[in-house]
Symmetry: C2
Subunit: 199 residues, 2 copies
């Protein structure tokens, strides 16, 4: 299973996409991977809205841009590395995400799954989706910046009140290859039996 470990090392957030289309069969493979993730009580509380419509995509990304302009950028400037800052700027402010032909809005149905278990049910599925995209050579990114606009997103996507958006994932073809992810080695964040006991 070296392939899996290679895949995990290759998965990166893309913020530049080409406009090359991605067909329904391919999107289906990503979603099939997503729904095979574990969920609390096996409730599978996910709902996916696959947005291809131009007007819907534009409005969806306007929310991200609004959040960015209204304080997201200023907040991020103090926290992100310069490289990551430029990258995120390119995705949100620079229109990188707008080139992606598909946006997948991952939602949680809180009637089906308990609200307290939403995160541990939705984000494993999201990660399967991102890995599946990487496996198929597609570009993707996990974004949550527009989640401050829950009501507006629900209105835009006709979501019932019990279906809460959790993330927006642009999907497309990568505009440029990415190098390896920058991560601290796991040993720096691993403890033996008790916190503070070195691994």
């Amino acid at each position: 299973m070296s392939d899996f470990f290679d895949l995990v090392h290759r998965q990166r957030a893309h913020r530049s996409f080409t406009s090359e289309p991605v067909d329904d069969a391919t999107i289906g493979k990503l979603l099939d991977a997503a729904v095979h993730a574990p969920s609390a009580e096996n409730r599978q509380p996910w709902e996916f809205v696959v947005v291809r419509d131009d007007a819907q995509r534009t409005t969806l990304l306007d929310f991200a841009e609004k959040a960015w302009e209204a304080g997201g950028r200023a907040f991020a400037e103090a926290r992100l590395t310069p490289g990551l800052m430029a990258d995120v700027e390119q995705g949100i402010g620079g229109g990188g995400y707008r080139d992606a032909p598909v946006l997948i809005v991952v939602c949680a149905d809180v009637d089906r799954g308990l609200e307290v278990t939403v995160p541990s049910s939705i984000f494993p599925a999201t990660q399967n989706l991102l890995l599946a995209a990487t496996a198929l050579g597609l570009a993707s990114a996990l974004t949550t910046i527009s989640m401050g606009f829950t009501t507006e997103l629900q209105h835009l996507l006709d979501l019932p009140a019990h279906v809460i958006p959790q993330a927006v994932i642009p999907i497309g073809h990568p505009a440029k290859p990415l190098g390896p992810a920058r991560r601290e080695p796991f040993e720096q964040h691993t403890h033996r039996d008790r916190y503070g006991h070195a691994w």
Copy 2:
């Protein structure tokens, strides 16, 4: 990359383990996969406590059993399918998890990552860990039932106040093979452009 899609279909929650040991190098591979997941602002806010010590493992699982006895079982009886109920009963009440030689407690450092982005940062890493275990032929399960005992877990594991436990993952060898996961097809939960528009 058919291997990845096969892996995703094979990943299941195990609730019966053998006592066969799992060495540090193997645990390291799981954690290396975990830390290559995406995280908000690339903050990598995870901390992992790998618990092998018998007394620590026992006390950790006592919390799960307490939560189960104190209402978890009664609550679950009304919600789970009979098959899943028997399975979870075996894991928590029946001591299945107690046979696992390793428990990995996944925590979030809320000084390092914003609390609001903890779920979208921690659970992708957790899913990488579970998939990595599956890839190596190991048994694992994502459990959150003892998360009601945050303070007690922090005390047991010497966690500082800003390090919050998120999940406990038993790791070991499977006591029995599992069939394919029971999931609803993704088409049942996928919408085109707007909720309610069939995929």
